[in-house]
């Protein structure tokens, strides 16, 4: 266990720890461009140079192992001069198009220039090396070769994380640039991470391009509901519009975030977002829609079937269970879903595309209910006159519904989700608009925080269920989402 001193503070670290990691443990920040904790060490940007006593030259902190008795300085004049000079080199050919660059505001060059350089440029604008700008590479990214500082984080990401190796440093020395290998497109399902890890504005997201400046964005920590992995994410939003989702790196689940997950926010702002009820194909105000659904349920009563959904939160599933047990008082309700879970591609994407299969099990354990196969059998046998469920869950019993011609009433957030031949649809607030609890494939509890407000009049599903029961003359007494959780044991 080597013991060393950094800026006068001594620390004992594991063997093999780099100076940069040791400094981080001490709370000493060393600037870096090419270093990324989840990628291999490259040591090419030279930004993390530190002075080590008895070493003839400055050393790169990211690639130097800590050794016994090292005395390291990160604040000496030599280090300061080195940082300033490295920045000057990096900025020689930088186009300085910050006004049109999406990275401005979270750019490594801007930040470090303000922190470590502040030197005026000694080079003429006219002498800068010109390169290709705004080249679309793949469906999600734009590459600006002029802004690139050749830190190779993107190259290492593609070869080490996705193992697809689309990117490479082409040519040599002053001519080098990041390029796509011939015949390849940057579309590996994780490509938007490159826009995140790029410390400058060389790779920017095509989706986020020119939508907003980053300093306007407010950040809400929430959870990705794209699959059962349940990655922790941060929603960046402003004035009730979500602009992008970025990962919140954590040791349990994720460092990265897949492209599919990053674009899940789109449905909230899509043109087909429901703010009214739908009866057959016609839009109808919420109140009459609720009344219509309530009277259809009243007609059928004990031959109503209620199916939970692994796409809904535990609270909303529990509210549906309460509606079945205490409101409609039917025996045919089901909170039993079994899908194979586990990471499909070795990175993040789960075999189970629903985010809450494990959570629904907890609801089933507390409230009972029948198996999904039994429900399908009852529907096919014609014992069920009306099925109430969530739009995507209705797909699981599609065959049975089709053969029996049972009346289907669904909850849906978007019109595109509604299955064909649905009798009525009620809108509900999605989990970007209301909090909800989920359990991911590891059994970890995940709670969403809403960054935006639901369209006017649209309530969370548990509140819609509560109202539905009230219209039929039963009270579930659900005042809040927590009321629905009563009796459910969460780890």
């Amino acid at each position: 266990m080597p013991k060393l001193t950094i800026d006068g503070k001594s620390i004992e670290v594991e063997k093999g720890t780099t100076l940069l990691a040791a400094a981080q443990q001490l709370g000493v920040y060393i600037p870096r461009y090419c270093y990324h904790p989840k990628l291999s060490i490259s040591g090419n940007c030279r930004m993390c140079m530190v002075e080590v006593e008895k070493a003839p030259k400055l050393l790169t902190a990211c690639s130097t192992e800590a050794a016994e008795g090292m005395i390291v300085s990160t604040t000496s004049d030599k280090v300061k001069a080195a940082r300033r000079d490295v920045l000057e080199f990096l900025l020689i050919n930088h186009p300085l198009d910050c006004p049109i660059c999406d990275q401005a505001g979270e750019c490594g060059l801007q930040d470090y220039y303000m922190d470590y350089s502040l030197a005026p440029s000694r080079f003429r604008m006219a002498d800068k090396v010109r390169r290709e700008k705004r080249r679309p590479v793949g469906p999600h990214l734009v590459l600006d070769k002029e802004r690139c500082i050749l830190c190779t984080r993107c190259v290492r990401f593609c070869s080490e994380v996705t193992k697809t190796s689309e990117l490479e440093v082409m040519e040599r020395a002053d001519h080098s640039y990041i390029g796509l290998k011939e015949g390849k497109a940057l579309d590996n399902g994780y490509s938007l991470n490159i826009a995140d890890i790029c410390p400058v504005g060389a790779f920017t997201s095509r989706d986020f391009r020119f939508k907003s400046r980053v300093w306007f964005l407010k950040k809400v920590p929430t959870v990705c509901l794209g699959c059962a992995t349940g990655c922790l994410i941060e929603a960046h939003h402003n004035e009730n519009i979500i602009y992008r989702l970025v990962p919140r790196p954590n040791p349990d689940t994720n460092t990265w975030l897949c492209d599919h997950g990053r674009l899940t926010y789109k449905s909230v702002q899509a043109g087909d977002r429901l703010s009214k009820g739908v009866i057959k194909n016609g839009l109808i105000d919420l109140e009459p829609a609720l009344r219509e659904v309530a009277s259809r349920i009243d007609e059928a009563r004990t031959s109503v079937a209620i199916l939970g959904s692994p796409w809904l939160s535990i609270e909303d599933n529990a509210a549906l269970a309460r509606l079945a047990k205490d409101g409609v008082k039917t025996g045919s309700y089901c909170f039993d879903f079994n899908s194979e879970q586990g990471i499909k591609d070795g990175i993040l994407i789960n075999k189970d595309s629903a985010p809450n299969t494990s959570g629904v099990k907890a609801v089933g354990a507390a409230h009972g209910g029948i198996k999904l196969a039994e429900l399908s059998r009852r529907i096919t046998a014609g014992e069920i006159k009306l099925v109430l469920t969530e739009a995507r869950a209705a797909g699981l019993i599609k065959q049975a519904l089709k053969s029996a011609g049972t009346r289907l009433i669904v909850f849906a957030a978007n019109r595109g989700e509604i299955p064909p031949d649905t009798y009525a649809t009620l809108p509900y607030a999605s989990y970007f608009e209301t909090p909800g609890t989920f359990i991911n494939y590891q059994g970890l509890r995940r709670r969403t925080e809403p960054p935006v407000k639901a369209p006017e009049g649209v309530k969370p599903l548990w509140a819609v269920v509560n109202k539905l029961a009230a219209y039929s003359g039963d009270s579930l007494r659900l005042e809040s989402a927590e009321d629905a959780l009563e009796g459910i044991e969460l780890k």
Partner: protein, 208 residues
């Protein structure tokens, strides 16, 4: 130093406290002005603003209605960097950015609105602009309007030419007191890359 002025608040005397005489005096003053203006309307000090305006003193350094400067091809110099919107203390600027597909300058404002009913004419937007694309040198003082909508200036109205027809950057600058004519080869522009790109674009069109 704070200057102190002593105010002599004399108590009112009896005649003043009855008010009747003072009211009569006040009415007399009003009536005198009424008849003076009725018989000699040209001597009235007030004008019918905003239909009528007063000529501004020629050498005054004023912040007047905004305008967006244009490149010589008529496109706005603005690159929608949102600096003015960020700097604006009154939240009166609304920009929506869009992308040129062919021009070398990538970004331009598809929407650029200034809500003059909120604007406090502080000039922060002009200070903040890295492209020198917004100016307050039209020497027009924004007038009143009957609806809020009329007080919102759109991109089209902001790109309107100056009254004397000098729409382009060069002529506008002479007035505002500093010179931003084309940078010479020895002294490259420090106004940011988009400006450089614009210059190059213009050069490629042989217009510079």
């Amino acid at each position: 130093m704070i200057s102190v002025k002593k105010v002599n608040n004399k108590p009112l005397n009896l005649l003043e406290r009855i008010y009747l005489r003072e009211i009569a005096r006040g009415i007399a003053v009003t009536t005198r002005h009424f008849f003076t203006n009725l018989l000699n309307p040209k001597g009235m000090p007030t004008i019918r603003y905003p239909e009528q305006t007063r000529p501004l003193p020629g050498n005054a350094n004023l912040r007047t209605r905004h305008r967006l400067k244009m490149r010589s091809d008529g496109s706005p110099k603005c690159v929608a960097c949102f600096m003015c919107q960020t700097a604006c203390p009154a939240y009166c600027i609304h920009i929506e950015a869009a992308e040129y597909t062919e021009n070398t300058v990538e970004k331009y404002p598809a929407v650029f609105d200034i809500d003059l009913s909120r604007c406090v004419m502080c000039g922060m937007c002009v200070e903040a602009c890295p492209e020198d694309a917004i100016a307050m040198d039209t020497r027009e003082i924004p007038g009143g309007a009957l609806t809020r909508e009329e007080m919102i200036m759109t991109k089209e109205s902001l790109l309107r030419n100056l009254p004397d027809g000098s729409a382009h950057a060069q002529s506008g600058n002479a007035r505002s007191g500093y010179d931003l004519t084309t940078p010479s080869e020895e002294e490259p522009s420090r106004k940011g890359a988009a400006n450089r790109l614009a210059n190059e674009y213009l050069k490629s069109r042989g217009e510079e």
